[in-house]
Each structure stands twice: as structure tokens, then as C-alpha cells.
Amino acid sequence: MTGNDATGKAGAAGAAAKPRRRRARAAGRASAGRVVALHAGVIALLFALQFVLPAYHHGVLARIMVLAVFAMGYNLLFGYAGLLSLGHAMFFSAGLYGAGLSVYHLGWSVPAGFAAGVLAGLVLSALIGVLALRTTGVAFMIVTMMFAQVFYLTTLYFNVWTGGDQGIVLPQPSRVVTAFGSTFDLTDPTTRYLAALALFSLVLVATLALVRSPHGRVLVAIRENEQRTTMLGYDTFANKLAAVVASGAACAAAGAAYALLFGYVGSTFASVQYSILPLLWVLLGGAATTLGPLLGTLFMYYLIDISNDLLSAWVPDWNFSSIGVVGVALILLILFFPRGLLGTIRERWLPWLP
């Protein structure tokens, strides 16, 4: 905006340019302050909520925070870089299996298992990124979906180790961390909540830093016009690959945390449905907003939860499950609310939202 003004009245504004630039810089600082305050506030609110929430919602919120990390990872690629993947279930479940299998079969400790999960996600996303980024648009969606399908079938094929559809349950003793001279039991609700909050905060801050960095700006430029970005001298392939890897690593971290915190590993998490869900959460919350994924996950989780109760109360003999609600939500969202909750708020009222 300021740039356009400046070029339009270049001659006349010579004298006024300096104060205006200074004002713009001051406004930038003020908005940076607001942004930091907002994100710190959200983290503080989540920390405070654990003391007031009843047990059921306390557990649900821990789960939502982990799933929101998954959504934030997805948002990096879909929202900022504009690459719509239909295969992110494979990155989530790479983390899930990387952590779950190494803890269950190899007897690794929790931190080592978590690292194994994230590493699995890093390697897989780098490999898939190099291959899938050769395509664009619709072909990219289908290729990622197919790679995810191969991953899903692999988890079924090796069911001797993965347990296939049934999955495996991580026993309680394997989910205890000993660090700094004390033990943390991840099956304990409070510890679990704090661990989920720690991961969520870490990924939220990392996302915020990333999207405000030059790399984040280049990703948005690629989304808006890839050819122009190439022409400006940026290596768009390298930037997109970095985005895929960052996104894959975040999703794998969510998967690894899910396995360790909730103790269950199964191939359902690798199915197509878990590639669709993060897309839905991000769309609902607002693509290319840092807090949108959390909001979307929160809303969708409770929407499904409540509609399940209502459906079974009103029409008990129907089999219409939450998946149908997801379908209706997807269509309504894309028709009437394509920018999502935070996207609309940013457009109407708060243009400084990151």
C-alpha cells in the first residue's frame, strides 16, 4: 500500500517521505508488539485453562493442541506456500510409527522415540518433496494422495510389526520420562496437558518466526505468482522443498507426540481421512493465519462431538456418523466462508493478524 502511494506521488512527496517512512516503521513495531502479545496471550490462556476445565474437556484440549500442531504443519504448506497436499496423513503417521514402533519394539526412551518420529517425518518429507514437487496443481494433489495411499498400504502389509488396523497400545511403563532428576509420567493428565502445550507453543512460535522471516515472505510470493518469483531470482524449488520438509517435520512431531501422549498407534491415522482433516481444520480456522489451525481444530472437534450426541439423541436408528458432518462442513465452508474464521476477521477488522 505504502509503496504504491510513494510511486504515485514520488515528486510531491519528497519532503513528506521521511516522516511517513518513520511512521510506517513505528506502525510495524507496534504491530509486532501486538502480534507477540496476542500469541503470548493465547499460550497463557491455554496454560490457565487447565486449572478451570473439567476432566473431560481437559483431556480433549490436550488432544486438540496436538492435532492443532498437525494442522499448523499443514497450514505452512497449504496456507503460506499455496501447495494443496492430500497426503499429509503419511507425515503424521511417519511420526506416529517412528515414535511408537521404536518405543514398543526397540524399547527406546520417550525422547529418543520422539526424535525418531520427527526424523522419520524429515526423511520422508524430503523424499516425497523432491518427487512430488516436480508436479503442480491437480497433479500434486493426486501424487501426494497416492504416496500417502502407498504408506497406508505399507502399514497394513507389515501388520506383524504395526498391528495393522488394530494397531498397538504402548504400555504405561514405556511412556515415563526420567529427566533432570525427576520422572514425568505421560499417562498422567496434567503432565500430558503440559507436554502438549509445550509442543504447541514451540511449533506456534516457530511458525510465527518462519512466516515473518524472508523465507516465509518468499513462500507467500510463490503462492501469489510463482513465475514472477522465479523471475525475481528466487529458487522456488528450493523454497518449496524447504516448506514441504518444515511442514512434514511439524506434522511428524504431532504424530510422535500423539503416539507417546495417548499411547495408541494404528493405521487409521495413515488413511485418506487423516489427510482430509487437517485441510478442513485449516480451511475452517483460516488458511495462512498462525492461530487459525488451533481455532479450526477446536471448532471442528467440538462440532463433531456435539453433533454426534445430537444425532444419536434425535435419530438413534440412523448410522449417519461424524464423517457426514465433516462433509457438510467442507461444502458449506468452501461455498460461503472460503477464508475461514480468522481469515474473515483479518479481512474485515484486524489487518495486522499474521
Binding site: 494443496l84 501424487v143 440412523w318 448410522n319
Partner: protein
Amino acid sequence: MAFGPHLLLAALEGLVTSAVLALMALGLSLVFGVMRVVNVAHGEFYMLGAVVAWWVSSLVSGHPALGFLAALVISPLVVGAVALAAERLVLRRLNYNPEATIVATIGLLYILQQLALTFYGPDARPVAAPFSYRVVFPWFGYSGYKLAVIGASVVLLLVTWFVLMRTRLGLVMRATQYDRETAQAFAIPVDRVYAGVFALGAMLAAIAAVLIVPISQAHYLMGLDPLLLSFIVVIIGGLGSLRGTLVAAVLIGLSDGIISAFFQPTLAKMIATLLVALVLVFRPTGLFGTAAR
């Protein structure tokens, strides 16, 4: 059974798959070619076709052929109407944006699937074949109906080809596919062509479903595997290329039949899906496709 006859049996089974797959993939390919959108709900139109076929044939008493023929007429009409409604109410409002359409058709997929589960139930139900003649080979007997499916599919494909290449309707569709804006400038009602093509694509899937229902039963989750297979076919054949789609359908159907006769199905699916993904990565336009315009 010796290897040769076993291979023949596998090839015949593969040809039946090819026949059904070709019809279904043709529908997907038409929609992609003309409208430039990917219809993820295509498999659910197939499922809906099978479920409606079961419903119609269960209403008709008398010889099973009567019920089957009634289903063959009514089921595509019902499915076409559903597709038309979806196109008018959702896709048109999205202005056929490729990514928004994928999201919306995923939603449609879930809705149709869950509605089928609600009103049709979780059971797999059969439709009686219109006739039960057995063709006797020297080594084994084979269902005459399956051979008839192959024949019917060939006839339907020829009809579709004739409509596309030799009629005014087909000309209008091809013109829209070639260049939407110029077609519009030449007073072709592009909007109505889109609606028609989307309904036609769904009807082809429904016909494929009616043909297959006497062989494999109607079930509310039956849409997913054929959807993935027809994606594979359309991609291998080249997105939007009808000739490529047909060749790929025969290729994939045959190899599916032969591979699953000799290997474990999960492993076969894994390898096939991986190969196709790699084809798309290294030859994004498919084997017969031309670069997207």
C-alpha cells in the same frame, strides 16, 4: 489347473475389470477434460448407481432380467439428477476453481457415503444377473454374464465415441474443452455444457455400477477402490485424453486381474500405486497426454 488356463482365467477377470473401469474412467476423464476439475465424488456416484440398482430391482418382481433392465435405465437417471443438482448448487458457485472443487467434492463424497449408510445400511446386497448362461471352455466354465459385461462396455464406449466425434453435441463439448472462452464467444452455452458433462460423467459411473452389481454386491463403501483405480487410469492415459484413458483402462484392468491372481492383493496394490505415482512424477502428462492448456 495348468498355468496357461490359469492365466486365461486371470486375463478374463482382468478384462471384466477393464470393461467397468473404462466406463468409469471415461466419465472422470470427460469431466476433467471439459471442465478442468477433478471430481473426487466420482466413486460415490458409482456406489449410488449400484445402490439404486439394488433398490429398483428389489421393487420389480418377475424375471430377474426385468429388474436388471429397469435398473439399467433408472439408476443412471437418478445418479445423473443427483450430479446435476450438485453441479448447479455447489460447483457452479465455486466458479470451477480446481482446488475449491476438490474440497467440495470431498465433502460430497462423505455426504453421499453417509447417506447411503443411513438409508441403505452397512450390508452388501446382491442383484440377480439377468441370465445365468455358462460358457464352457475346455478347462473351466465361465459366467456368460461377465462376457456380456465386456460386450456391453465395448458397445457403450463406441456410442460415447460416436456422440463425441460425430454429433453436434460432441462438437460443442470438444469446442468447450479446447478453448472455453472462444466457445463462449461463438454462442456455445458453456454453462449448460458443463452441467451436462458433469451429469454425463456421473451417469457413465452409474452404468458401470449397474453392470458390475450382479458380479460384486452393492455396498456403501464400494466407491473408494474404483475411484483410485480410475484416477490411475486417467493419469496413465493422460489427463483429458479419451483414447489414452481407454488404452490405460485395458492395461490396468488386465494387469490388476493377473497380478491379483498370482500375488498378494495388498502388495500388488502397493506396487501399482507407487508405480503410477512415479509415472505422474516423471511424465506429468501421462503416456498419451498433451501438455495442459
